[in-house]
Amino acid sequence: MNATVASLTRRNLLGRKRTLVLLLLPLALLALCTLARISANLDPDIEQDLQGALAPDLLGAFAIAILMPLLSLIAGTGSIGPEIDEGSIIYLLAKPLNRYSIVVTKLLVAIGVVVAFGVVPVGVAGVVLTGEVGAVTMGYTVGALAGGVAYSAVFLLLAVLSRNAVVIGLIYALIWESLVGGLVPGAQALSVQQWSLAVVQRVLGDSAQRLDVESAVGFGAALVLLTVVTLAATGYAGRRLETLRLNDDA
């Protein structure tokens, strides 16, 4: 952990224009939830839905499946990718700093951004939808946090490994998790989204079944996988940063 690296990374991630892009995602989520709330006040049928499966559906489909991967993708790759791309990482690597601590610092900043622009809005959205800080709100907030941490670590590793990190990350998040995961049941076990859903399911407890929240993996397995993936991705990213080749292609 290094304060200077952290502040540099934060400035890289939160430029004026980039903050706007980052803000769009949680704003869309909140607008959606406000719309749901308003229409629930107008229509008792929707109100009933909202007490039932609609709130988890909205949070699951929009927050866990779209918002978190996208935000983590921007934050995770954005914390190191542009620097490698432009070659300015060399000024950082030339300093007597442990490469692992550079990776950990950048990961922590990325997680901070994900929490500020993703996890907190998910919590607010949960309160707006359900009207209380109940199991649904807590479950999805904790689930979003767990998913966001793992996604950020994986995408940061991708950014160290490849120039095409963002596209590869998108293909993983979109095609693997939704399409392949939908068709091949085994693929769901290898999906950060399912792991964070397992966390949600655990926090919801008995009401998970009523709310139709079901993950493809158990809670224990999910927790182990989340931890292992996060730690392994961070460790390998640090290792790769130690042997990083600059300008291997134009």
């Binding site: 224009k17 980039r18 892009v21 769009l24 995602l25 869309a28 607008a31 959606l32 719309l35 749901a36 229409s39 049928d45 929707i46 609609l54 559906d57 909205l58 489909a61 929009f62 499946a65 779209i66 996208l70 993708l73 921007i74 790759t77 954005g78 990718g81 542009p82 791309d85 950014a159 120039r163 095409n164 990190a165 963002v166 596209v167 998108l170 293909i171 979109l174 095609i175 939704s178 399409l179 292609d249 134009a250």
Partner: protein, 295 residues
């Protein structure tokens, strides 16, 4: 200094520093625009760029084409009476691949010029800023049209090989091709506007895909919340895919691929107007983006 050409506007540019005059014919701005268009179209598929930049576009083209081939083969083997996957629903079914193509290639079209600061060189030539935008827009839309039109055409070829009657297939095929052209222009416009905002490739990719994904997620969620009311059918205006699908089903009388399509004549008019406004707005935004100093 160089003499003005026949059109009266000085076409000589910064390179003429007075050593020896070139008095021959000059090819002019529209020639540059045409070259830039071809270069953009080729560049979107990585042609003329490094081998690594060819992987992604051709992979995605393969993802788009493969289902069409499979559908064609299945149809002729099983002697089906109609295609299991219709022409007009093809793009919507494979929209993830289209979105990723747009996301990965529109920054390649727009951001590279900004990042390597070569736009200044373009604009020091007789090429005007509108013409630059026109060439880029047309190039991106053409690249998308190839991506969407090729599998649809292969679908028709598969249907004809399976000896389905041409007169039954042709109307839907033409509707789908018109739809592909609309998708190309609408999606290309959105992708380029978002990509032109940032010189960084990674941010551009994420922003383009993010915008499209959030819009379709938003649209699906609004439909989910509102249920079956008539107003729900206007929710298709939110996402570009449902918007174009609404025009294809409302104006060209195809089967809607998502939801129910726009309600009645009024809905069709509203959806068409939205498409026109969106494309014009994208063009205007791009021109405005390039009017000012670039960074």
């Amino acid at each position: 200094m160089s003499e003005p050409t026949t059109s009266g506007t000085p076409a000589g540019a910064i390179h003429d520093i007075g050593y020896r005059h070139y008095d021959g014919p000059r090819l002019g701005a529209s020639y540059i625009r045409r070259s830039l268009f071809v270069e953009t179209l080729r560049g979107a598929y990585g042609l003329g760029r490094s081998a690594r930049s060819k992987i992604m576009p051709f992979l995605l083209l393969g993802v788009m084409v493969l289902p069409a081939l499979v559908v064609g083969i299945v149809t002729s083997y099983l002697r089906l009476g109609s295609l299991p996957l219709g022409y007009t629903e093809y793009v919507v079914t494979l929209q993830v691949a289209v979105t990723v193509f747009l996301g990965s290639q529109s920054p390649a079209v727009m951001s590279r010029d900004l990042r390597f600061r070569v736009t200044a060189l373009y604009f020091s030539r007789p090429l005007s800023r509108q013409q630059y935008v026109q060439a880029k827009f047309a190039g991106m839309a053409a690249a998308l049209f190839v991506l969407l039109g090729l599998p649809i055409t292969l679908l028709l070829a598969g249907a004809l090989l399976a000896e389905l009657p041409l007169d039954e297939q042709l109307p839907d095929y033409l509707r789908a091709m018109a739809g592909a052209a609309l998708y190309a222009v609408v999606l290309g416009g959105i992708g380029l506007v978002v990509a032109a905002l940032t010189p960084r490739r990674g941010v551009g990719v994420a922003a383009v895909v993010g915008v499209l994904l959030v819009l379709s997620g938003f649209q699906a969620a609004v439909v989910g919340i509102l249920g079956d009311a008539v107003s729900t059918r206007y929710a298709g205006l939110i996402s570009p895919y449902t918007l174009v699908d609404g025009v294809v089903s409302g104006v060209l009388a195809a089967e809607p691929s998502i939801g129910q399509g726009p309600p009645g004549t009024l809905g069709a008019v509203v959806f068409s107007a939205a498409v026109v406004l969106l494309v014009a707005g994208c063009y205007a935004a791009l021109v405005a983006r390039y009017r000012k100093a670039l960074s």
